[in-house]
Symmetry: C2
Subunit: 354 residues, 2 copies
Amino acid sequence: MTSTRPFSLAVVPGDGIGPEVTAQALRVLDVLAPQHGVAFERTEYDLGARRWHATGETLPESVLEEIRQHDAILLGAVGDPTVPSGVLERGLLLKLRFELDHYVNLRPSKLFSGVPTPLAAPGDIDFVVVREGTEGPYVGNGGAIRVGTPQEVATEVSLNTAFGVERVVRDAFARAQARPRRKLTLVHKNNVLVHAGHLWSRTVEAVGAEYPDVTVDYLHVDAATIFLATDPARFDVIVTDNLFGDILTDLAAAITGGIGLAASGNVNPDRTAPSMFEPVHGSAPDIAGQSKADPTAAILSAALLLDHLGLPEAAGQITQAVEADIAERSGARRTEEVGEAIASRVAGEVSTVS
Amino acid sequence: MTSTRPFSLAVVPGDGIGPEVTAQALRVLDVLAPQHGVAFERTEYDLGARRWHATGETLPESVLEEIRQHDAILLGAVGDPTVPSGVLERGLLLKLRFELDHYVNLRPSKLFSGVPTPLAAPGDIDFVVVREGTEGPYVGNGGAIRVGTPQEVATEVSLNTAFGVERVVRDAFARAQARPRRKLTLVHKNNVLVHAGHLWSRTVEAVGAEYPDVTVDYLHVDAATIFLATDPARFDVIVTDNLFGDILTDLAAAITGGIGLAASGNVNPDRTAPSMFEPVHGSAPDIAGQSKADPTAAILSAALLLDHLGLPEAAGQITQAVEADIAERSGARRTEEVGEAIASRVAGEVSTVS
Ligand SMILES: CC(C)[C@H](C(=O)O)[C@@H](O)C(=O)O
Ligand SMILES: CC(C)[C@H](C(=O)O)[C@@H](O)C(=O)O
């Protein structure tokens, strides 16, 4: 027998449907591990609404330090209607992204065959959004005075640095160059947000000079939403700011079968801290606890995790299993039924070649 | 003969296709004027790329003061590739919106029958976006240091006031109450932009108490784009911030036949300054001067202008003529052919009743 390579995973199931979909992603990882001579040693972190209610904590420093020691993080979803909006998002999810320097928020969009899309003529959708993850309007640099009075003033500051923009733009160019179409689209709003926008535009121009074989274009964010509805096949790699990336990737998910299928990786390419993988969807409190959530996005996020850990073959097995499963889907299935079906294909119990 | 009531219009054709589509809107107004015993006295303002190149001016104070004396403004489109991005947008278009206190940026979205939409099952789309027009990330409160160096830092500040949010929220509730479905959706991102977002949420809650017959819900901006793609018929009135409104209304235009049809009004409901009407689309430099632009959005914007000036019947004539024209459209028509066709219907030369 070959020796088993252990990877340590920090698992944060979170709120709402988070725990349900995470369980299915872990089940699939469990099937893959022995096939690839690896083991996933898991530590589960009880973070989210329950802990906040019990202790007032969102992400204690000591827990963050523990999580930091892992090879990767698998996260379900965060946010709960019983907690004021923003507390868990800012205090837990965004804190992890910022503290662990997840500056590449990677969100692939592919329309698998057989998936229902709201578009009449979707075309061949296959692009990836490289969303900046540690700057922009997400930095939490805002405040308010005279709250609750007619004189209230509230601000939100978008912070953008050459350092932060350049590193994510470089990552996006490298990804574009490795793809067959070699096309990069910068999305921003540089005719209104001129300071941040021009920093982005200048950076793309400068880095682009090192990638003469990558075709570059620019779209304002409003125009980009039009193309996502009318001609999404035009996109290959999109690089954009944190907030615009948030908006575009939900729309991208909608046109490729819904957020039940959309995976994401919060990647620290420098590997100075563990990267974190999570579905694009939120905690969906309205359907939590009913086994109605589609765990596919969480399972595909596990594929991104495997890729990041240097196991692209295992990642490919998941993608293939999901594609095959989707092609044969019909009717509503329970969360664990979907997980079971994909796990069986990964296990080789069901042929995934059609 | 009854006496003729004169209205003074400031006309800003602007850049690119702006002058082409504006000409068609004016042609339609010219047909309507005698029918309603009114006259439109027009003053054209040469603002945009040409003037900027010649003089360096975007909107001189003296011109702004002249424009201020009019009853309403008709604007084509602003922005030109020969001028640095942002100069004309910030210096002309946004300056007009801010100086003339256009705090309600009104953008109706209706799917006219016969209009091609990218959605497979669009449903009955008929909503209006009330976009805040004088605050948020559009205030121009940003800056940058060490520009062009690896140490560059650029900021954009979103400014939000109780005063500014409350007045636009009140306007949106009044509109919702006057519509059959009486539904208002607040769109923001209050789980991340917590200070601005909570100001919006609290304001909607407070004002909503005065409108018990209006149903209120809330969507994060990312989720709102999903619904625009999957279930746009769910929307009645959307109230949102300046930047989110910009993004949502381009997407809204895309699903209702494209920006060639999307009208908008920059409204000062207090009438302390003239309101301004313009298509949602931009100057489209790629097709400028080729008579390829669809002037329908500009013509529908003229309908919003008539409504604002107290001529709802004349406005209705335009809407009906456009609906009838669209229902019979086939093949590409030149800009002036579309204008001619709609003008003829408004003139009663073609029956608009099918
Ligand atoms: C939950 C929320 C804070 C988060 C975000 O805005 O980034 C989510 O929408 C996402 O896209 O991952
Ligand atoms: C041209 C641009 C400044 C403008 C905006 O962002 O408001 C346009 O996109 C619009 O929607 O009217």
